[in-house]
Symmetry: C2
Subunit: 154 residues, 2 copies
């Protein structure tokens, strides 16, 4: 059963979001509870799904994925089957970081990371416009990343 989070749980979540490598002992000191209690509470945050995962944030430039592109997609038809087919296909593309169904001028917005513009153009021509049901795409090259993946505020 998922019960409420108290002030200590929230503080732990914020601390772990900003530094997932905190040891249990360190975290316990920061939130002023015993190591045993801290351990139990952390377990609960995982078990009850408050923390989905802990992830090392890899620097994209360092692994040759320095180009970020936003792509707006419009589908041919707005049927549930059409959406479903498109979504299944997109989920397999590992260069797609985000894919969101939106209300407005586009059906979907994609956030994509690739090596460079040439790489994107190749992928666009071979994989994006080839996605099922795509009528048109609009590409927005990112010229500067001002804020990238900021921690969640809560």
């Amino acid at each position: 059963m998922t019960s409420e989070l108290d002030r200590i749980d929230l503080k732990m979540l914020r601390l772990l979001q900003n530094n997932g490598r905190l040891s249990n002992a360190e975290l316990a000191k920061l939130v002023d509870v015993s190591a045993a209690t801290c351990h139990r509470r952390t377990q609960r945050l995982f078990e009850e799904g408050y923390i989905k995962s802990v992830r090392a944030m890899v620097e994209p430039q360092k692994v040759d994925r320095g180009a970020l592109v936003m792509v707006g997609v419009v589908l041919d038809r707005s049927t549930p089957e059409s959406f479903g087919t498109f979504e299944k296909a997109v989920a397999k593309l590992n260069f797609v970081l985000d894919c969101n169904l939106v209300a407005g001028d586009f059906d979907y917005f994609l956030k994509i990371r690739v090596r460079d513009m040439a790489d994107f153009n190749r992928i666009h021509g071979t994989q994006l416009i080839a996605l099922p049901g795509v009528r048109q795409t609009r590409t927005f090259f990112v010229m500067k990343e001002v804020v990238d993946n900021a921690p969640l505020n809560f």
Copy 2:
């Protein structure tokens, strides 16, 4: 000095990206090196900036930030000062997860997380259109998150 990554380093990066809680001992087994070697290599990945940080991924719905919104922004003027002022102001808004300067019909794209639509409307009226130099904004409410923050493929 930043030298190249070999096959083992890359494998470690991928493993840590998918599970930042892996202990050094576990990681060492997975990449088939001794714990001491694994430890030194991991240190290097941090020191040389391959891993920016390790983050607990908090489930937005669980902390009352279930609404995701993409916002396209157009500025009044396209001067460096105008961009700089806008960017400084945006960086202070803790509900902004991403902010990217793009080429195309908009100047910036923002990715925003809030409690709900009512919350967004309040924020839009009081904080977004009030950002320095904003001529217009276009809001795309996210109706379904198909892929959210997928791990980087490299």
